[in-house]
Symmetry: C2
Subunit: 256 residues, 2 copies
């Protein structure tokens, strides 16, 4: 069965989308069958995978409202060897539209259960919020990968995220656990990064991935070509770090 | 009367909070009376101003629900010479609680009108979303300042923001206009930054502030001390750029 991983952090701009797109490409390179679910109305994971979000007739929005299935809506990434359940601005309306619906936080989980045997990994790109969309991601997932920039506001926001996870575990999804915290855009020369990194290690211990993603401009250039960094410039430091992450993650999950 | 400015961009991590806190300190240094409204459940502008968000008995949440006034809830920043209408995680519940209320998008506007003569500037720190909280900010404001990192996803997201502004102008707030786009965390050596910056200039012309905020680690260090960059390390490049922004902004707005 598919391992479903929510990539979440309500702090904005910490590398959630970049992690989802590049980890998907890395896992695909290791021969795994991967689906990305874009759960952000910004549609960045969709565009970053070379899919024109404005041209979509159906998206994850229609899947959440029960109007279409995952199989009908998913598309292959332009390159990278993985599938995408795409999103666009329509998704912005889902929050208010789902409020009075039955099983509003389990919509994504139920939809994904129908394709569970078709994928080895499902990576969910969550929006920068602790709203009903992120909740759908946390209910559908077995575990959470938390990208984090080693700066103050991101560190300070972890307690809200951990509190939300505790509530989700108690109320709707007993199996959800933190798979790991991933240091992104890491600048080894900066004292701030080092200090925050040490605080992460003391709070979360071995939950912090050994793989560290460096700041690398090639990762920021790749999305304008609709490509993962691993396809755009495979030998760059950023892309290589995401390949190492894919290896660390499969070693953690598949040998357990 | 107060000039009310919403600092908004649904793209996460583009420097909204850093801009609000440092622009407030810069305007205060120029002798203006300034109020920050923290409209983000992350409560970053609150913490960045030295106010302990977990200790708040009342916050902007209570103001939006009509349980308290701005005067009852606001507090002075630890340093910096401005006031803060603080936020914490309670605010996360406001979206769903306001859905069925009357004038749900005008709650902030109505509350601020009662203190309109006490401030020269009100700066609203919006969350990274186009939700009811951001809508409250856009309805309360006369103009919008859009911080932006010169990278692809941030550029690509501008069309959604501009579309939302057009709808707000047509339906609820005819006076709202884009005051300016502010380039933040700018790395002059990067081709990507230069290219995106040129695209901004061709789309938005003189709406792009001349002041550019460079990437400067002192700005990222300041919040852990609960201080604006202008107080933490006044002579650093980042702080000086925000002082220049305050001067450019007052020249634009006050001579018109
Ligand atoms: N390791 C890296 N090095 C350099 N740039 C990066 C790196 N990771 C991400 N970026 C860039 O930083 C910006 C923020 O990253 P990204 O959009 O992936 O974060 P996010 O958490 O998904 O943001 P949001 O909260 O808006 O969803 C993007 O412009 C991206 O291209
Ligand atoms: N000019 C700068 N130079 C260096 N670091 C910066 C600069 N501006 C902001 N930062 C840091 O970058 C991170 C993102 O900035 P900030 O939190 O202000 O963005 P935001 O748009 O408010 O994010 P969110 O979408 O989560 O509300 C923070 O850790 C901040 O300290
Ligand atoms: Mg994202
Ligand atoms: Mg912010």
């Amino acid at each position: 069965n598919a391992r479903v991983i929510a990539v979440a952090n309500q702090k904005g701009g910490v590398g959630k989308t970049t992690t989802v797109v590049n980890l998907a490409a890395g896992l695909a390179e290791l021969g795994r069958r991967v689906l990305i679910v874009d759960l952000d109305p910004q549609g960045n994971a969709t565009m970053g995978s070379g899919i024109a979000k404005q041209a979509l007739e159906q998206s994850v929005y229609h899947v959440l409202l029960g109007d279409a299935s995952v199989e009908e809506v998913r598309q292959p990434a332009k390159q990278g060897g993985y599938h995408v359940l795409p999103a666009n601005r329509d998704l912005g309306g889902a929050e208010l539209e789902l409020v009075n619906e039955l099983a509003r936080e389990a919509r994504l989980k139920n939809a994904l259960s129908l394709v569970d045997d078709q994928y080895d990994y499902v990576l969910i790109d969550c929006p920068p919020s602790l709203n009903l969309l992120t909740l759908n991601g946390l209910v559908a997932a077995n575990s959470v990968l938390i990208p984090m920039v080693c700066e103050y506001y991101a560190l300070e926001g972890l307690s809200d995220l951990v509190t939300t996870l505790r509530k989700v575990r108690a109320a709707v999804n007993p199996r959800i656990e933190i798979m790991g915290l991933l240091r992104t855009m890491f600048d080894a020369r900066s004292n701030l990064s080092q200090q925050v990194s040490e605080q992460l290690a003391s709070h979360f211990g071995s939950k912090v991935f050994e793989t560290v993603i460096p700041r690398n401009v090639r990762l920021a250039e790749a999305p304008s070509h609709g490509l993962p960094g691993l396809v755009y410039d495979r030998n760059a430091r950023g892309a290589q770090a995401y390949l190492a992450l894919a290896q660390e993650l499969t070693a953690r999950l598949e040998s357990a």
